[in-house]
């Protein structure tokens, strides 16, 4: 708390005067989230763990979605409780199969592509990440 006064402050509770710690909220301009299924309006389903993604989408001013596939809105209407991120939080939907790159995206990409990850590690050391990216993006941008 003492090290990060820009994030943590102690104030008196307006209810009973006890000391409470306030934590400053980060408000991202955009959250960027890759999902397995989205419709054209930005209603999204995440298959498997959500991590903090539902919170990130709500904390940010707007969200950009990349999705493994576009699904019909009827799927969202059939099971509305499975919608992790609703359309009103979303500004852009990009259909981008393999959008998690050489990382994991269940069920289509269950493992890290270690060969490509080694190339990434080498690119970082050589300060050549934009060149690595250009190769990965060939034909997709």
């Amino acid at each position: 708390m003492a090290q990060r006064p820009e994030f943590f402050q102690v104030v008196k509770s307006p209810f009973d005067g006890t000391e409470v710690v306030c934590v400053k909220a980060l408000v991202p301009d955009y959250s960027i989230i890759h999902v397995q299924e989205a419709d054209i309006y930005g209603n999204c389903r995440i298959l498997g763990p959500n991590y903090q993604d539902a919170l990130l989408a709500r904390a940010a001013k707007k969200t950009i979605i990349t999705t493994e596939r576009i699904v019909g809105t009827y799927r969202m209407q059939e099971e509305p409780k499975l919608t992790t991120i609703p359309h009103m939080l979303v500004e852009a939907v990009v259909e981008l199969p393999g959008g998690a790159g050489h990382g994991i995206c269940w069920p289509e990409h269950p493992e890290v592509d270690w060969g490509t990850h080694k190339q990434y590690q080498k690119a970082v050391k050589a300060n050549e990440v934009p060149q690595f990216a250009a190769k990965m993006l060939e034909g997709r941008l």
Partner: protein
Amino acid sequence: MKEKLMPLASAVKLIKDDMLIAMGGNGMHRNPLMFSLALTQQPLKNLKICGAAPGIAADVMMASGQADTAYFGFFGLENEAGLAPGLRQAMEGEHPRAKAMEGS
């Protein structure tokens, strides 16, 4: 509801200098990595990255030098992938080019 489909090339143009960006996923899992890689092809600077456990997509922004600050609880790739090489490179040495705000 409004249709929001757009190509990757248009979506990356929504991101501007100095913005605070939250990257989804965790470690090597379900990261928006291709989007991050597309951002490296843009002339962006002074981005700030945040997340509870940012992973490979955020690491790319640190490695490219386009992000100068990361706010996080834990920043790594986990398991066999280990440390985040881009963040490490950006904050190591006498003249680090990025600030790591752990526990923020």
